[in-house]
Symmetry: C2
Subunit: 144 residues, 2 copies
DNA sequence: TATAAATAGGATAAATTTATCCGAAATAAA
DNA sequence: TTTATTTCGGATAAATTTATCCTATTTATA
């Protein structure tokens, strides 16, 4: 459904959020360990989250990644997905037609539309806060 | 959402179905032209559709690909997707956890479940017949 | 039986995604 | 101001997906 990069990005953002509630910054090393991802690759993905203002970074000693506490509830899953994979997953055609809309639909357009709309709706209405709280409460996990 | 191979496979199956209604067999060349896909790659995908009993092939002169008319309404989109991409798209975890279920969920498990179930339901209840009829009636298209 | 027309399938190449490595730049603290 | 620590960013490698090429095999018809 999403690329590996996007999966890592979402999990990284969730982990950073949980730590930010405790006013702690985290390193790519710690993030990669906690979400079970390759460290250097994760660091690259973190950079695109920073460029897209989803997380913020502090360079130098005692630096690391963090999210302002009051922003955690504002960040939507859709923003993270869009920053890493783009929005073709819920905008583009399910059969890959370059142009696919009501006037020139692919044969499965209406069928896909229901699913895509459901996905888009979910991504736009799910906040980092909800997901991070699932981790903090111990009712969900970032790795197996 | 699906791989290129899967998109080509779905479109190829739909095109073969429309021709099979007219008792005509089609070649990879004609298929690739009509669905706007690379011919040799499409031929490979057709082979996996054949191996999975989704379409049938007749070798030699006057051969080609076809689907028995009475099977067109029996083939579900889910079968094609499973044959080419596997079923991880609606079975696997949205965040890539190896093990993700009610007892050990990822933080977005419930959110994803709704979308995945909707997708699975759509794929299992959409037949090749419906899709092919959209093409035959001229109300949908296989390329731009 | 010979021939032409098709699919089948292996080998390989190109493109994209995933992943690693290393040095530059920034920053807090001694 | 020096040092240790940390993110940033470019270069490169590995793996996977997408795509091409060529030959073998099959089969209907002349």
């Amino acid at each position: 459904m999403f690329s590996k990069a996007c999966e890592y990005g979402i999990k990284a953002a969730i982990f950073i959020a949980t730590k930010s509630y405790e006013d702690k910054r985290v390193s790519p090393k710690e993030i990669a360990e906690k979400i079970n991802s390759p460290q250097a690759f994760t660091a690259k993905i973190l950079q695109s989250l920073v460029r897209n203002d989803i997380v913020s970074s502090v360079k130098g000693a005692y630096g690391g990644f963090e999210i302002q506490k009051d922003r955690i509830s504002q960040v939507k899953l859709a923003q993270i997905v869009k920053a890493i994979d783009g929005d073709s997953i819920y905008i583009g055609c399910g059969l890959g037609l370059e142009k696919c809309d009501e006037n020139h639909p692919c044969p499965a357009h209406d069928k896909f539309k229901i699913v895509r709309d459901e996905l888009q709706n979910m991504l736009e209405n799910t906040t980092l806060e909800e997901l991070a709280l699932n981790i903090k409460s111990g009712s969900a996990f970032l790795k197996t």
